[in-house]
């Protein structure tokens, strides 16, 4: 009798007080998210060496990843970037959003998520405290391209992000991917 009561108690306790999702990202969440996009949309990301061969965006992107001087928001050396170019992102964006949130909600805090035109453009910004640093993960997906950027932000830039999540989130992605005009 005691065993049954204990089992019922533990089961109900777990059901009532935990909401741990069935799926969650382990270890390196950046790589998990990249893999998740690849599996969900059946696409492949382009590594930086490949971008170099193709002569695309390479100079500034690589420079920034190594800690280039043009960086304004991300802390030096903290950028992780995956780019998906010119591929079809067909799929139910609601399912994708749900899977992404389920995977990241254990360790990351969702800040803002925007969807436009029935899921043709999706932006997700998550934050995570990592000791004295705060990591920011920005995922943008549109009809044919996607980027996943993970950076460490200084306190000043984190304050900017919290004040204006949408604008600063876009700036982080632009900074990591666009050709520097300076």
């Amino acid at each position: 009798m005691r065993t049954i009561a204990t089992k019922i108690f533990i089961t109900l306790f777990v059901v009532c007080f935990t909401s741990a999702p069935a799926v969650y990202a382990k270890g390196d969440d950046f790589n998990s998210v990249v893999k998740m996009i690849e599996e969900f949309y059946r696409v492949k990301h382009v590594g930086i060496p490949f971008l170099a061969k193709a002569g695309m965006k390479v100079a500034t992107t690589a420079a920034r990843i190594k800690g280039g001087t043009a960086r304004r928001l991300a802390e030096a050396g903290s950028i992780k970037l995956a780019v998906f170019e010119n591929q079809e992102f067909n799929g139910d964006f609601r399912k994708f959003r749900s899977s992404l949130n389920q995977a990241l909600n254990v360790t990351w805090m969702p800040l803002i998520q925007t969807l436009s035109a029935a899921g043709e453009e999706q932006t997700y910004i998550f934050l995570r405290n990592d000791g004295d640093k705060t990591k920011v993960l920005v995922i943008t997906i549109d009809e044919r391209d996607a980027t996943v950027v993970q950076v460490n932000l200084s306190q000043k830039n984190l304050a900017l992000l919290l004040k204006d999540p949408e604008g600063t989130g876009k700036a982080i992605t632009e900074e990591a991917t666009l050709i520097d005009q300076e």
Partner: protein, 189 residues
């Protein structure tokens, strides 16, 4: 043996009940029932600034920067800011029943609809405050227009003056709230 079993069950019921009571008194509105509208919307924005992020923001905003000092004061004591906003290409993409789960929560304990709240925005703006005695525990705003639906939920001690000042900051949309001289309406809607 029987009495131990009974004790376990009673303890279990107490724990479950206390969990539900705690949830009922929370001024956090569950907005997930609106998620299905994202499929029809031309633009969806979902902002979640939970208690952890509020604490982080309070720590990060600088006292040296006028703007940040002001926001820091406004968010002091707040436990969360949650926004869900949908824009549609055409009219009639959402109906009253879509909002019913939200309204049901706002009919719950402590919530009071404020009257005489004006907004510069077109459409209908409803403002609700959750009171615990004389203290305000939370705020909810429902803005509906033919092609737009926005729900803002601020958890913690907040008033309309604070809301008006926080518009455009931390993911809160510009609702055009004019805060002066609001009145309570009995909660029978």
């Amino acid at each position: 043996m029987k009495s131990r079993y009974k004790t376990t069950l009673i303890a279990l019921l107490l724990i479950i009940t206390s969990a539900f009571v705690a949830r009922a008194q929370d001024s956090r509105i569950q907005l997930g029932s609106l998620d299905h509208l994202a499929a029809k919307a031309s633009q969806t924005v979902d902002v979640n600034v939970d208690e952890r992020l509020m604490k982080l923001a309070a720590r990060l905003f600088s006292d040296k920067d006028d703007d940040e000092r002001e926001i820091k004061k406004l968010i002091a004591g707040l436990k969360g800011i949650y926004v869900k906003s949908f824009e549609f290409e055409t009219e009639g993409q959402f109906v009253a029943t879509d909002l019913e789960p939200i309204r049901t929560q706002l009919r719950g304990a402590g919530w009071t609809k404020m009257v005489n709240v004006r907004s510069k925005k077109e459409g209908n703006v409803e403002v609700y405050l959750q009171f615990a005695g004389e203290m305000v525990n939370g705020l909810a705003v429902l803005h509906t227009d033919d092609k737009e639906l926005t729900v803002v939920n601020i958890v913690g001690p907040v008033d309309l003056d604070k809301l008006a000042q926080l518009e455009g900051q931390m993911g809160i949309p510009d609702l055009g709230i004019e805060s002066s001289k609001t009145k309570k309406k009995t909660n029978e809607q």
